[in-house]
């Protein structure tokens, strides 16, 4: 395979449906039902604690930034606020979108709506996009959330560390959504019954941005935009850094998350911002396990998974050369060794993909 076509309306997606690669049954490590039930158990405590810390820090840092504005002394506080706004919102959007962060549904939904606004994603559209990402993870032409397409475009990857491409794409889509509902591509994965919701959400987001811009013009200052909107640019780097590691340089068009997802052990601050999504193989294999139980799930199934990268730096040292190599050979990917205790990869399921691995 080469010359991938990532369009959701293109030939690769149609071929995935024809061959049964789409909506396939994926490999799962066997976990006793009793253990899995305990791991899947929901509680409000950890997410309430983390949400109080997150929003508390955001108010504190933004407050100090506003107080010290426009002095350069305000810069560190904006940088800290930006990471919480432009990166922690990604993981909150993700976990609350799954409905696993809190036990209480309205809490999941409230944090999901706020996080969707901050990360500039339509709360109605992206719920469905992410469902498809879990059904068809890195299946070309089916998964709308493939962060690194082949061949990789490094300039785009680097620009997105500052959220530039995401934001440039977001606003035209926002306006289109607000006027006419989902785009043509979005209509391939958002059910028709949800289209009015997509439009309403876009109208609310658009109104908030217009009000913020109007306030900035009235004040003759970008300060309101430093609080709302711009942090999605100057604070995006952390979620892009961790997000690239999720699947970058690994296989596509396979049905075993051990081949296309990466677990990376991280420092405590990054794990707080990322809400434990560094346990990414585990999350994809068992999306019902809440973020706070992922370290325990990792301990439970690590005998069946490739060894995790031991740090973000190690993950990048492994991923980056693989991405560079995909510039010359689109089919190349990293195939990580499994421990002796693991069930082997099903080579017969993945003949096309595994043929290109090293």
């Amino acid at each position: 395979m080469s010359e991938r076509n990532y369009s959701l309306l293109g030939p690769d997606g149609a071929r995935a449906v024809e061959t049964g690669l789409a909506a396939a049954e994926w490999y799962h490590t066997e976990v006793p039902r009793k253990v899995m039930k305990e791991l899947m158990g929901r509680s409000d405590g950890p997410a309430i604690r983390d949400t109080i810390v997150l929003y508390g820090c955001m108010i504190l840092f933004a407050g100090l930034g506003i107080w010290l504005w426009p002095s350069l002394w305000s810069a560190p506080f904006w940088l800290a606020y930006g990471v919480l706004y432009g990166s922690a919102s990604d993981s909150r959007w993700h976990e609350c979108g799954h409905g696993t962060a809190f036990k209480t549904p309205w809490m999941n939904n409230a944090v999901y709506q706020i996080a969707s606004f901050m990360i500039m994603r339509n709360a109605a559209t992206w719920r469905w996009s992410h469902a498809r990402h879990h059904t068809d993870t890195y299946i070309v032409g089916r998964d709308p959330e493939i962060a690194v397409m082949r061949p990789p475009e490094f300039a785009k990857l680097i620009l997105n560390f500052f959220g530039i491409l995401d934001v440039l794409k977001f606003f035209p889509t926002l306006i289109q959504n607000a006027l006419t509902g989902p785009t043509k591509d979005e209509r391939t994965f958002v059910p028709e019954s949800e289209w009015p919701k997509v439009r309403r959400v876009a109208q609310v987001h658009l109104a908030i941005y217009l009000a913020t811009i109007a306030l900035a013009l009235w004040m003759g200052s970008i300060l309101p935009l430093m609080v709302i909107g711009l942090p999605r640019l100057y604070g995006a780097w952390h979620h892009v850094m961790t997000g690239l590691l999720q699947h970058g340089g690994l296989a596509d068009n396979v049905i075993d998350h051990r081949l296309n997802s990466r677990t990376v052990l991280m420092n405590r601050v990054s794990r707080f911002i990322y809400w434990n999504m560094n346990y990414h193989v585990e999350h994809h294999m068992f999306p019902m396990v809440p973020y706070h139980a992922l370290p325990r799930l990792h301990e439970t199934i690590k005998h069946d998974l490739p060894a995790p990268n031991r740090s973000i730096a190690e993950g990048f040292r492994q991923m980056w050369p693989a991405l560079r190599r995909q510039l010359r050979n689109e089919d190349y990917f990293l195939k990580r060794e499994l421990p002796a205790t693991a069930k082997p990869y099903r080579e017969d399921f993945h003949t096309a993909a595994l043929g290109a691995a090293e």
Binding site: R127, A131, T135
Partner: protein, 104 residues
């Protein structure tokens, strides 16, 4: 035409849990509610044909293991996206420690 079939023993399903039951080429899910009652639904999620037996029962909700969609297993009502289509339910009765399921 409907018929009652023997699905499982009451002790086979833990309280606030479910099991999978296959019969005549179809798959079902049998639930044991926190109040001790038994219920039955179609065995696969209406969203993407995933077996519900690996999901999580929370009170009267069953959450799909793939996309976290939720149904009320007593009525089959779709309660949380991405599920939009209700789940088919089946009458259940308990006789002598056995869970009986009425199927078509």
């Amino acid at each position: 035409m409907t018929q009652w079939i023997d699905a499982c023993a009451t002790a086979d399903v833990d309280e606030e849990d479910l099991i999978r039951f296959d019969h005549a080429g179809r798959t079902y899910a049998i639930y044991h509610s926190p109040e001790g009652e038994f219920f039955a639904t179609a065995g696969k999620c209406t969203h993407e044909e995933v077996h519900l037996c690996d999901g999580l029962v929370m009170g009267h909700l069953i959450e799909c293991p793939k996309h976290n969609g939720q149904f009320d297993y007593r009525t089959g009502e779709a309660m949380r996206a991405p599920v939009c289509v209700n789940l088919k339910t089946y009458p259940v009765r308990v006789e002598g420690g056995r869970v009986m399921l009425q199927v078509e």
